[in-house]
Symmetry: C2
Subunit: 466 residues, 2 copies
Amino acid sequence: MNRVSVREAQSGEPVVPPEVSTSAEPRRAVVLTVGDEILRGDIINTNAAYLSEQATSLGFDVVLHESVADDVSIISEVVQKAVGLAELVLISGGLGPTTDDLTSESVAAAFGSSLVRCERAEAQLRAFFERRGRELVAANLKQADLPAGAAMLENPIGTAPGFALPTSAGAGSLVVCMPGVPTELRRMFREQVIPQISARIGHREPASRRLYRVLGLGESAVQHRIGGALESFIGGLPRGTARVQYRAHVPEVWIALQGALDSSGHSPTSAMLAGADALMREALGRSLYGIGTATIEERVLGALRQANLTVAAAESCTGGQVGALLTAVPGASDSVLGSIVAYSNQLKRSLLDVSEATLRAHGAVSEATARAMAQGVCRRTGADIGVAVTGLAGPSDDGSGGAVGTVHFATSDGEVTTHRALQLPGSRARVIKAASYGALRMVWDSLIERGVARVEDADTKFTGRI
Amino acid sequence: MNRVSVREAQSGEPVVPPEVSTSAEPRRAVVLTVGDEILRGDIINTNAAYLSEQATSLGFDVVLHESVADDVSIISEVVQKAVGLAELVLISGGLGPTTDDLTSESVAAAFGSSLVRCERAEAQLRAFFERRGRELVAANLKQADLPAGAAMLENPIGTAPGFALPTSAGAGSLVVCMPGVPTELRRMFREQVIPQISARIGHREPASRRLYRVLGLGESAVQHRIGGALESFIGGLPRGTARVQYRAHVPEVWIALQGALDSSGHSPTSAMLAGADALMREALGRSLYGIGTATIEERVLGALRQANLTVAAAESCTGGQVGALLTAVPGASDSVLGSIVAYSNQLKRSLLDVSEATLRAHGAVSEATARAMAQGVCRRTGADIGVAVTGLAGPSDDGSGGAVGTVHFATSDGEVTTHRALQLPGSRARVIKAASYGALRMVWDSLIERGVARVEDADTKFTGRI
């Protein structure tokens, strides 16, 4: 167990890495999230899920989540309780510049310690504000005050530094505080917290994990198709070495097959896990768009880049979301020319050459219009692949007699045009989201048809969130 | 305080509604979520946020969230602690048919009680399976076993009934258990839990709350500008009747001014809260785009509709996100014609008439290009207002010498064109998001200029999620 005291760490000398335990006994972690906004339900606590998943994948048993108010006595009490329960205490939130940001003060109070101005934190705060041409006010400098003995964790994308405080209290715990802004928290965890944990407590290699990504089938349909065969497959492995999780990420379903050490230290080999692929492909067909960590956007763009192809979208009900998904990926400009979002029928005619006759005979939400849009966007942009989506997102219908949730898709290479229609369930937001992913799936299927895309990632080991 | 004992409730007689307290002392609530999948971070805990937000809006102070493992002794211990802390204990999860669903058993154990088969629950379970043509197995019947004295809560869309257990333990608390599936939980809460709370504990009209929405200033800049004046303002109100909260909703900052009852039952009047408006407007200027619950997308669309104006976007770095934000609002088709997403320079020329000379002399990320794009989209679509956005989202620059995060915006009515440039911080995703909202802000500002928009919602009382 790590027994680095606050005094040792405070001296500024490098802390001697503890003997990292190789015992099979799992270390415990507690996740604390701080903020009135969580208790009032103003925000959804994604940080607790992220930190739990990370700690779990590093081999910790997360034994408790607790969310508490912005209050020094409450926070310091739960911190004291947490170090009695667990070797690793992960805290997020309450490091901001405002008067209700009290985490640093509370952690110091929990150990009878005080806040000390961290010069490096102050210098980085000043540099951060200077780079952005913003004025640094006194409230900001409060963020450079850390509990005595804490190692500062840099925040390259925000103003709140974090800190790691090794303590001899409780189980000899490492207390790590991170900002509540999720992007800042995640980057800090990845780049600085994992090395801190590694150096001070040690962590276990995460078990291998294979992720199957499905688009176009619901969770119960997926389970119905693969449940029996997967159970037999896992039954054929050494007992306790693999488990399966189904997770709905609307509109996707992800299936994680995770290898775990059994009590005698066996784990399934990569070859064993790979054996599941054939089973999944057989049962799920084209709906299994990916095996591995890459998203469908990343897969589509990777395949387009490799095949030196360009894409453009003709969007109606998705309003720009198809283009937005594709261009969210860095380097999208290599392959994405753009989109024509023809929300009005007038623009479907003038910008996409959909004929008045087609619109009148079939309506805007129809196979004929989707096909004309895909052809039109190829012609207008010169893209190798044009994808079109037109549908009725609701909440009310448009008086044309079509049903809310009806969506027509088409892809075209300027010569051959392919069509698909779906009836999507749920709210306006859900229909728009599913329709946007449906359009990506159309492009993906056309890339598979052309033989320029494959379902497996280069690296199919997966250690992130599912 | 409600002192309905388990024995009284068990008799099946209607429980006499307690005298609903009119004391100003706020009632407290605790939210417990049960399940290993939460502690492992396999799922994001949206139920905790939902239950907290509901309890808050019913006038409860939520004092604690706790998420615990599927373990009888752990669950019953936290339930015992919770009834000591709060009048209302809301629990979700662990009511399913599998062996790791232990909440009912644990709640019974917490009160030294036992599980009793509920005939109504059993009948409804059998009917549920029959309707779906599914076979009812023994494991399912376990879901009809409820703690003695509990009132069953029906689950019309799932198999797990919930229950409400009035108890004389602790503060005389009402313990409510609901299924973990969010749609089932929400429907049960709305239709059955609120009436239970109302009858057994009573709930208070939520305090009035005024929400100020800011776009274009960071959290610390907002606090710097309004902090002092707001403190004086609150100081002038009866002590303890109002409090302020700052919340970063990147790229926005929200300021909530909440009226609360003080210990003698005073609360600030609407007029008092309204008095804060002048202060906020003065200090924040145009960055204060809204007072009330409506989002900037809803405000823009509402003003466009009222003024009978149309809008179209010319997007580059945002890739379609501006159009997607606008069209996410129901009824967008009244005012949004569409977008031209000219991600490539070729499409900026061919679809938006940006001249080769402009692109060569100034580059794609420039004031001249933004202006030409806004004018081009007006001409090509016939929109009353064209908004353009072109910038460098990163992560790496484009070799043109521009800095990542530089974004140029323009709005045009076909004749007069207005320009703004921003240097946006953060990751690619953050720059794209801020640029998309920046474009909405440009449209909003032009609607304010035209005198067809106002900062206040019709209804400025706010009781929902911030």
